[in-house]
Symmetry: C7
């Protein structure tokens, strides 16, 4: 198994994404690529005090620390 | 679906772009590439106190955190 | 021997991963690639005060300092 | 249209370039490449207190945030 | 001679590795690659107050400042 | 014209190089490559209080902000 | 002439290397590559208060600001 296979198994599932700056994003994983660019549906972006919601969110891969 | 396809679906739509430094930019997505370089029309750049407006804005991809 | 061979010998073993920001993650190494992207099972993420547990954790390679 | 096409349309026009550190540079766009390296003629570099002027300025692309 | 040849001559020898953040690691160099990923055996990781020991340590190359 | 052509026109001329950390270097441009690595002859490196002089200076391209 | 040719002319000569964090290293240049990885013999590493000496030092290129 390669690491990207683990992302493949998470497709259409609710995931937690932690960014390098500590911000956490939750949503349904709809797409990923080798740069770890992600698309999340029904995403919740926890920006400290405020939680923002997005129907579809494209996240650039180079700011991602982990996906679970 | 790949993540860039999600950007493709946003073409000619109003998008919100958040930069890695927290700055938010809004505008109509006119173009993107694999580096996530973006072109926004009628862009509003929220620079803390002041909001600046640009008819056409070329944004370098490596400063982008998300697009929605 | 190449460095990635050493990671190969750690597959299915309990490993300690230290991130560049000092955070430590423990878990069973299930996958890795040439970018040092890792997949850990039964991962414990030591985020200062709180220790978070994840059944499966995808860690982006460019934040990793060492694996042991 | 690709993002670099938008830069192409700006050739020989007065542009505003904002760097990642907030510094703004104005000038006539004379050249660009895929790294977003730029050449500006009659460039004004707004370095906080002092504004410096350059007949021709080569700007390395990786410090650029946007061009408009 | 190329720089990597100098690393090759250090194989199976005790080396000192200094990371970009100033941390020093000592151990026996067992493997390296073109990214300067290293494997050290019997590694001592000097983390400020505490010195940690590892039987085998995989160090990601992009945090390394020098090897001697 | 491409941006590197502009550097080519500066060969054997006195140039001002500004680094990303604000340090300025002056000298005669003798060589450059696609990484914007530069060689300056009779270089003056303005390191805050002290100005240092070098007969020949090899500057790594990734620290360069602009050349003029 | 290309910039790396200038490094080639410095082989077997005493050089001064300045790192991006301001640290200076002196030694005899024995090897370099396109990443500007360097090998210095009889290297003196000026770490603020203390000057450390190394018979052979492998320096990773991406921390180097200049060589002279």
């Amino acid at each position: 198994m390669k690491p990207l296979d683990a992302l493949g198994e998470l497709l259409d599932n609710q995931v937690l994404v932690r960014l390098k700056n500590g911000i956490e994003v939750r949503g349904v994983l709809k797409a990923f690529d080798i740069h770890i660019n992600l698309v999340l549906d029904d995403a919740e972006f926890d920006d400290g005090d405020v939680e923002k919601k997005f129907k579809t969110l494209f996240l650039r891969g180079d700011m991602i620390l982990f996906v679970s």
